[in-house]
């Protein structure tokens, strides 16, 4: 992911990223991408439901 990619992503999220924060954000996005890859290593059964708490 390039600095331009991150800036574009931030723009879409409504964030005006300080350029000084960009290297740290990119480093952490790379870590998150690594964790995402690990999570998707095996597919989930479509019948597995999410688990957040909701009480109507």
């Amino acid at each position: 992911m390039t600095e331009e990619d991150v800036a574009q992503l931030a723009n879409m999220a409504g964030l005006d990223l300080d350029p000084a924060h960009l290297p740290g954000v990119m480093r952490n996005l790379e870590i998150l991408e690594g964790q995402t890859a690990l999570l998707f290593q095996e597919p989930l059964d479509p019948l597995v439901e999410p688990a957040p708490v909701y009480r109507p």
């Binding site: 931030a10 924060h21 740290g24 998150l32 964790q35 439901e49 999410p50 688990a51 708490v53």
Partner: protein, 472 residues
């Protein structure tokens, strides 16, 4: 004029159990006010070097202690925690002050108008709040190295981390600046500092204790819980704060389950050792601690949770994303006010796409079933709490499974997969190296009594031990 009752010997009261202290106060053998003065003097002497407290509430503590003494003199019962000094992590509301959650970002918030619900319950039981305690900013960290409020130092070795994010609370209990404390645990923030400071900590089942009046981090992972210097003290405090409150949507409507009676008998349940991820990422001291605890509790097998690595990844992603979402407005308008270590992770979380977040939520259901299957064969599982004992403050990496990996992001490797599915866990400190390390005693959902009974049995056998002598 009513004569003050004679104070019991200071060294005795410093290391006395909460039960003994409260009994002495209730029976008029110990003045609650004198006890608080002793604690405040100790805080004044030691906290400048330890940095456990963000604010010492001396006036409030003296007022509450005097009220306890007045009740005793009037022949009324001040409660099971009469006069016992305690502290709270600075993400619990205390009436009249701003809940900083370890950040200057929160300084713009209005002061709390009432205490957090758990504080109210403790005050009603006679306990006396002495102050609010240091933490990682917004509870996002494992070392309590806070850019705004400084680092909390480990009382067992002031060059080392107290752990986090509830590091101020754990260090204060270990140094006897207070007799117990309340912290929060989203990914390990009670169990990690318990391990590093050598005290007992309880992360109850998700949904057991109401979080009403605390500042959130990750709504569907946040737990509250106590720290203490013994298993019996931990159980007493936990029993005092149990109970549903409608102010927390995730708080389960369950009846209270007293745990103190379970501590009277030796634990005799079926015990398994968590292998795989939990063994691979432990160091020799952690493995030895687990082996000692397992032998003492009669462990009969090893349990592998194949999904542990993915569970940790899922917890990591949910934390980053939920934290980013929670602080979206401040990140958009005041990013420079955040601790840099917190800011960049939250900003990255805010940019994470929805797909992995939804997958993490679904994976939570699958991993829960995997863990619950293990409890068909075992009543209790054991794992190390941390991949190492307390690192040095500022230490950039820790050595785990043959690799040097960043310290701050990875201290929770062994706690995160378990809090992800909300299991009740006691961290029990096991001496065995220059610094202690804790084991996690992991019970099925809603069975805090099982984990606490196992902790008490380990303590009774001399395997688990809180601080024996006053550090510093």
């Amino acid at each position: 004029m009513i004569a003050e009752p004679p104070a019991i010997e200071k060294t005795l009261i410093d290391l006395a159990s909460i039960i003994e202290t409260a009994r002495a106060v209730r029976e008029g053998r110990q003045s609650a006010l004198a006890l608080i003065e002793a604690r405040l003097a100790r805080i004044e002497a030691l906290d400048p070097s330890l940095n456990c407290f963000t604010e010492v509430l001396a006036d409030r503590a003296r007022r509450e202690a005097a009220a306890v003494d007045a009740m005793v003199r009037a022949g009324r019962d001040p409660g099971p925690l009469a006069g016992v000094p305690f502290g709270v992590k600075d993400n619990y509301d205390v009436a009249g002050r701003v809940t900083t959650a370890g950040s200057i970002v929160n300084r713009v918030l209005a002061p709390a108008t009432v205490d957090a619900v758990l504080l109210q319950r403790l005050s009603k039981a006679g306990a006396v709040l002495v102050g609010t305690q240091n933490m990682d900013e917004f509870a996002y960290g494992f070392t309590t190295e806070n850019a705004h409020y400084g680092a909390t130092r480990n009382p067992l070795d002031t060059g080392r981390s107290a752990g986090g994010s509830s590091g101020g609370s754990a260090a204060a209990v270990a140094a006897a600046l207070c007799d117990f404390a309340l912290g929060t645990d989203t990914n390990g923030s009670i169990r990690v500092p318990s391990s590093f400071c050598g005290i007992f900590g309880l992360k109850p089942t998700f949904g057991r204790l109401p979080r009403t009046g605390t500042f959130p981090f990750v709504h569907d992972l946040d737990h509250l819980g106590p720290f203490a210097r013994s298993a019996a003290d931990l159980a007493l405090v936990y029993d005092t704060i149990q109970g549903h409150d409608a102010g927390d949507l995730a708080c389960a409507e369950r009846t209270k389950c007293p745990t103190v009676p379970a501590l009277a008998k030796r634990f005799a349940g079926r015990v398994g050792i968590l292998g795989g991820w939990f063994d691979d990422l432990a160091d020799d001291q952690g493995r030895a601690a687990v082996a000692l605890a397992g032998d003492a509790l009669g462990a009969s097998g090893t349990v592998i949770l194949p999904g542990a690595a993915r569970a940790r990844a899922a917890a990591f992603l949910l934390t980053s994303s939920s934290g980013g979402n929670l602080h979206r407005e401040a990140l958009r308008t005041r990013a420079a006010d955040f601790d840099p270590a917190t800011r960049d992770r939250l900003l990255a979380g805010l940019l994470l796409r929805a797909d992995p977040v939804l997958q993490a939520q679904r994976y939570r259901t699958q991993f829960r079933e995997e863990a619950l299957a293990a409890f068909r064969d075992y009543d209790l599982l054991i794992a190390p709490a941390t991949p190492c004992s307390a690192p040095l403050l500022g230490q950039p990496t820790i050595h785990v499974a043959g690799k040097d990996i960043p310290t701050r992001a990875n201290i929770g490797l062994l706690t995160q997969p378990l809090s992800f599915i909300g299991l009740p866990i006691v961290a029990a400190p096991i001496p065995g190296g220059p610094m202690p390390i804790a084991v996690q005693l992991i019970a099925p959902p809603w069975r805090e009594d099982v984990a606490l009974a196992a902790a008490a049995t380990l303590e009774g056998a001399g395997i688990a031990r809180g601080p024996e002598a006053l550090p510093c």
